[in-house]
């Protein structure tokens, strides 16, 4: 697109992006992050036998554990990504979303879906599927919501002419994949297949939710923000396209690697392992592209906090993927299945990679959205270090705990022995969680101070005062 056509076709900035909605989505995401972390704390205290709400059914750790996971997936990640989409898609396509009213409707509807899910889980109405615990009466609403999101964002994307940037490919695919994945996981095992067969579909759902909803939106965002932050193009757009098509063709069959050694036929288990190794190669394209782009600009890691968030997330990504390669081998799986290794891995992916990237995006975008620099750059640094170090300690701690648990079970020691050996690790986990939680409190304090000094706040205050 030439500069002439840009000048001619593009909407004014104010009409292009609904910035208020981006802020609302980010604030909702931060709110659910707190809820999720509180759920995590409740479960963590239960494990060290200090549950403060013992005997209260509504506050039972089993239910709050589901709120912990669902609030992260559908509350934090989904809201943050929707905010991201409202910023990125109009800037890449130079077209606004299909309907702003629809955008506001989706925002309200999605908060109702997440809150209703939390309410349903607390009342004990969970569906029997990991990550798909949303009560059955919410599933159709969520499905319609995902359809509306797809229509609202795909309309401007499909109107673009000429070769698309990789971010738009990922987003386009994510809208379709998320809709199909949600339907597959929440309806097929519930109404159409049963038993181990439903387990196989459940395995696909668990992993596809990460790989076909979170991953394309995360990778797409990374490919958008990193070149902007470094002020140079990505190392190889061709390689990013290899990554995209690799994800499209290899990801959908690997979910069964969650159910190795089950009655699922071995050729499907082997297929999932082969597919996982293929995806490891696909992930390499992203890692190589990121570090290739960063090469020559490493000083930015000291001076540019958002790029440091992305860098840290990418390091955790490399670790996560190395873990994946180990986990899907049958030998290693026999040791770590059902242990805290898996819990550590999940935290590394969700908070260590995509959480860090999204917090980096917020660190970059909030000053632009609020038209004010951060009130305290020092607090921004504290937010980064408390979150990154806390997560690193937690992931390392749980990984080690998982190995000790696995060795304990492999040695045929009594169950209680594995619980005892886990206690020190679970205590360390709480301290790591406190560090991460403190980081988010610091972030909120800084955000509040920044809002206080923002010209938008002053405009709101003065408009509130004038009528009186």
């Amino acid at each position: 697109m030439t500069n002439d056509s840009l000048t001619r076709d593009a909407l004014p900035n104010r009409e292009l992006i609904e910035e208020r909605l981006v802020v609302w989505y980010f604030l909702a995401a931060i709110g659910y992050l707190f809820v999720s972390m509180l759920g995590g704390f409740l479960m963590a205290f239960q494990l060290i036998r200090h549950n403060p709400f013992n005997g209260i059914e509504l506050l039972s750790p089993g239910r709050w554990r589901m709120i912990h996971t669902n609030a992260i997936a559908y509350g934090f990640l989904a809201n943050a990504f929707l905010g991201n989409l409202h910023w990125i898609v109009p800037r890449l396509t130079l077209r606004s979303v299909m309907s702003r009213k629809l955008s506001y409707f989706i925002f309200a509807a999605w908060q109702i879906v997440v809150l209703a899910t939390a309410g349903g889980l607390l009342l004990g109405e969970a569906q029997g599927l990991e990550w798909g615990e949303t009560p059955v009466w919410i599933d159709p609403l969520a499905q319609v919501g995902l359809l509306l999101v797809a229509v609202n964002f795909m309309t401007p994307i499909l109107k673009t002419k000429g070769p698309m940037y990789v971010t738009l490919w990922y987003f386009l695919a994510a809208f379709i994949w998320t809709f199909l994945t949600y339907a597959m996981g929440n309806f097929v095992p519930e109404y159409f297949v049963a038993g181990t067969s439903a387990g196989a579909v459940g395995g696909l759902f668990i992993h596809d939710l990460v790989g076909l909803f979170v991953t394309p939106l995360g990778w797409g965002s990374m490919y958008f923000f990193v070149p902007i932050l470094l002020r140079k193009p990505i190392w190889s757009h061709g390689m990013s396209m290899v990554g995209f098509w690799g994800l499209a063709f290899f990801y959908p069959l690997q979910g069964i690697h969650h159910f190795l050694y089950t009655p699922i036929p071995m050729f499907l288990q082997y297929g999932a392992i082969v597919s996982t190794i293929a995806v490891e190669m696909v992930v390499l394209t992203v890692i190589v592209n990121f570090f290739g782009t960063l090469k020559g600009s490493s000083r930015a890691l000291a001076t540019n906090l958002p790029i440091r968030w992305f860098f840290t997330g990418m390091i955790f990504y490399a670790i996560t993927c190395a873990q994946c390669a180990l986990q899907t081998t049958l030998t290693f799986q026999a040791l770590i299945h059902f242990t805290d290794w898996v819990v550590g891995h999940a935290h590394l992916v969700m908070f260590g990679v995509f959480g860090q990237w999204l917090l980096g995006v917020m660190t970059y975008l909030f000053p632009r959205l609020l038209k004010s620099d951060w009130a305290s750059p020092k607090l921004c640094e504290w937010h980064y270090w408390l979150s990154a170090v806390g997560l690193f300690v937690m992931a390392l701690d749980l990984t080690l705990a998982g190995l000790f648990q696995g060795w304990s079970w492999a040695a045929l020691q009594p169950w209680d022995a594995s619980i005892e050996v886990s206690q020190p690790f679970w205590i360390v986990r709480i301290w790591a969680g406190i560090s991460m939680f403190s980081g988010q409190i610091v972030f909120c304090v800084n955000l509040w101070k920044t809002w206080q000094q923002s010209p938008l706040n002053k405009a709101v205050m003065s408009s509130a005062v004038v009528p009186a």
């Binding site: 593009a10 890449l92 070769p163 698309m164 070149p227 069959l253 036929p265 597919s275």
Partner: protein
């Protein structure tokens, strides 16, 4: 690590693509052949129908998209979008600054 020329970058991308695609296609081909054999012989094959049909449908859709994108010339100058995108961003930022004044 910046590629010395577009040709070198293209060659490297093709090597990476082949490294990913060829072994995986071989692996998948083998597993699908095995599936066909099982499907003819015992009930295990039936069990696998749901996940495999899921995969085939999704892949068919993306194969059609790949064919459509290729025919529309989306990959003719595969490195062009990364520069166009940055130019657009720069232009949008510039316009925002101008408007703010």
């Amino acid at each position: 690590m910046q590629p010395t020329s577009p040709r070198a970058s293209w060659r490297f991308t093709v090597i990476i693509a082949a490294t990913i695609l060829l072994p995986c296609l071989y692996g998948f081909g083998g597993k699908f052949l095995e599936f066909v054999h099982i499907f003819r012989g015992n009930a295990d094959g039936m069990f696998a129908v749901t996940p495999i049909v899921n995969y085939l449908l999704a892949s068919l859709g993306f194969f059609c998209l790949l064919a459509w994108a290729t025919m529309r010339g989306m990959f003719h100058d595969i490195e062009a979008p990364k520069q166009t995108f940055l130019d657009t961003e720069e232009w949008l930022d510039h316009r925002e600054t101008e408007t703010a004044r």
